[in-house]
């Protein structure tokens, strides 16, 4: 009322019934990231009511996962949260490992922690950068994308891809860090810190930026919890729930870090929480590198360590001598020429079943490798976890990323359910938007960091 009274209007004009205007934002709106539709009812510039419509990027992840083997679900998980695919990978693999009752090696857990934190930083960089750009701060966006590039280069170096990485294996990871990776990773962190410092100076006390964010998109802690919101979004309201602290998985309990919390739960707090979380993630990476020891990176389906030397794909490193001129020979006894060698490698495992595909040279070079590969890939022959159900949550970029896997004892999951962290946040979006101005939609929606890949699955 106070704003209206400044204008020169009569009481009748104030009391007059106003007709709301319905305005449609998205799905083809640049700030809606192309995949979500908001149907807003406006009173002037104020938002009365919002309907959120999702599902534009539904790709039937859960249905597809039921058709594939446990191993073949991994590429699908890359496409869930496509800004931090490594975390999805590790979350799924850990769920299946919990179902099988095995635990991966210590070095592998450190690798998972380091790669997860690299992904978390790139996730937050994207969120802060994109939402700053949508508010007009284009320079900050370019700076942050530059920083993200350093991290993507690290990811590329380790996994061989930037986005569709499929780096995890059940019971381990695909490959160890390349030589000299530690130094390059620490260098990259230094560069990212430099960029963050610059961005911090550009944005954090910037008058325009603060005015757009402070006090906008408010949500109380009780509401956030009741809506099932987790992650940096919940922490900005003052609740310090972080899965890495609350129920430490992998080796997070051995690494010292802080969980930043906000106090008001507005867009500015969410920005600050994300900024601080990046710093903490980089701290974790440095600590993890310091604590990490040499060792094996995989276990087999029985939980036994597989020595690293066994899984080296020599051909991939260019050591093709003696391999590309390899001539397959048929043994007169039809037993296979390499069988006795195979026996020497695995003396006490009779039916050696694991989730790890054999190295390519084995698949193409000898019959045992080919059969091993065949057995893993063909329906009905792969490794089967025991009957049961399991829920394994990890701390994703946006909050709790949970995998609920139901097994019926066959080699294909009976049901894979993903708990996507931005699904509850999107369901609470009307609560945050209603009462704000229409221009604030961009700021609030940007701070949600909605990733349609995991929202719609």
């Amino acid at each position: 009322m106070s704003e209206y009274s400044k204008l020169d209007v009569t009481q009748e004009t104030i009391d007059a019934e106003t007709e709301g205007m319905t305005i449609n934002m998205g799905p083809a709106h640049p700030a809606m990231h192309g995949v979500v539709r908001l149907i807003m009812n406006l009173d002037g510039e104020r938002i009365r009511k919002v309907d959120v419509e999702i599902g534009y990027l539904h790709r039937a992840f859960e249905k597809s996962a039921e058709q594939a083997g446990y191993l073949q679900v991994i590429p699908y998980t890359d496409r869930l949260n496509y800004v931090s695919p490594l975390i999805n990978n590790f979350g799924y693999a850990s769920a299946v490992e919990k179902l099988m009752g095995i635990e991966t090696t210590e070095r592998c857990q450190f690798i998972r922690v380091i790669m997860s934190e690299i992904s978390r930083v790139s996730d937050h960089l994207t969120c802060v950068g994109a939402s700053a750009m949508e508010l007009g701060a284009f320079t900050a966006f370019l700076y942050l994308m530059k920083a993200r590039e350093y991290l993507y280069e690290l990811v590329e170096e380790v996994t061989g891809a930037r986005l569709t990485i499929s780096y995890v294996r059940i019971g381990g990871v695909k490959a160890d860090f390349p030589e000299g990776f530690k130094g390059r990773a620490l260098n990259a962190i230094k560069e990212v810190r430099k960029v963050l410092k610059e961005t911090n100076q550009l944005l954090t006390r910037n008058r325009i930026f603060m005015d757009r964010l402070e006090g906008i998109g408010l949500i109380s802690q009780e509401d956030a919890i009741a809506h099932g919101i987790t992650g940096p979004f919940l922490r900005s309201t003052g609740c310090d729930f972080d899965l890495r602290k609350a129920s430490p998985y992998w080796v997070y309990d051995r690494i010292d870090f802080d969980v930043p919390v906000g106090s008001r739960g507005d867009n500015y707090d969410r920005y600050l929480v994300r900024l601080e979380e990046m710093e903490q993630s980089m701290r974790i990476i440095e600590k993890a590198f310091a604590l990490m020891k040499e060792g094996s990176i995989r276990v087999d389906a029985q939980g036994k360590e597989i020595p690293a030397s066994l899984m080296v794909d020599e051909a991939k490193m260019g050591n093709t001598k003696g391999f590309w001129q390899f001539e397959p020979q048929v043994d007169p006894t039809l037993e296979g020429t390499a069988k006795k060698n195979q026996k020497a490698i695995y003396p006490d495992v009779e039916d050696k079943k694991e989730f790890m595909l054999p190295a390519k040279e084995n698949t193409y070079g000898n019959i045992e490798g080919l059969m091993n590969h065949f057995k893993l890939i063909m329906i009905g022959h792969g490794t089967s976890p025991p009957k049961g159900e399991v829920y394994f949550p990890v701390e994703g970029g946006n909050g709790e990323l949970g995998f609920y896997v139901v097994s019926d004892g066959t080699d294909r999951p009976y049901r894979v359910r993903v708990h996507p962290p931005c699904f509850p946040i999107m369901s609470a979006l009307p609560k945050m938007l209603e009462g704000d101005m229409v221009a604030d939609v961009i700021a609030t929606f940007g701070s949600v960091n909605m990733i349609a890949g995991e929202l719609d699955r």
Binding site: Q67, I225, G228, V390, P393, E400, Y404, R417, M426, R457
Partner: protein, 160 residues
């Protein structure tokens, strides 16, 4: 860690159907009619204080010929006590309806819409029982096991 299964079993001996704690996940299977009573209790009882409905989904056991056909699965979490509980309710195909939890936790709203969309399980008392991921004109419920995964449907626009 408190034994949550025991707490609920002692409090509601005739509402609990079975329970297990596979892989360390404490699970209680409830009778359908007892869902609201137990949920109200676990939400408000100070020693349990499950203030977060983390996840809500369903599993179709049609392929295993199990009757009743569906499981509706609730994952609860307490931010103050830091413990988790999984509650399951079995739903038959004939009476494909469960009580809605939207009045207890607002997060149930969208999760229940998704379960209706994907499995065709209805929620009694839900304010807006509409499809969420699929479009309104879509026929069938895609995550049911008898919906073939390679079945195709033309994408039709809105009727009006």
């Amino acid at each position: 860690m408190t034994d949550l299964i025991e707490v609920i079993q002692n409090k509601f001996p005739d509402l609990v159907e079975s329970s297990h704690s596979q892989c360390g996940d404490q699970t209680v299977v409830l009778k359908k009619e007892g869902l609201l009573t137990v949920m109200k209790y676990v939400q408000h009882e100070p020693s349990l204080h499950f203030n977060m409905l983390m996840d809500l989904t369903a599993v179709d056991y049609w392929a295993q010929l199990r009757k009743p056909r569906f499981d509706v699965v609730y994952h609860l979490y307490s931010t103050t006590k830091n413990h988790r509980l999984r509650i399951k309710v079995q739903v038959s195909e004939k009476e494909c309806e469960v009580d809605s939890l939207t009045s207890f936790w607002p997060s149930a709203n969208w999760f229940e819409r998704e379960v209706w969309d994907m499995f065709g399980v209805k929620f009694k008392g839900h304010p807006n029982m509409k499809r969420i991921l699929m479009y309104e004109e879509f026929k069938g419920h895609p995550l049911r096991k008898d919906y073939m995964y390679n079945k195709r449907q033309p994408l039709v626009g809105p009727v009006n």
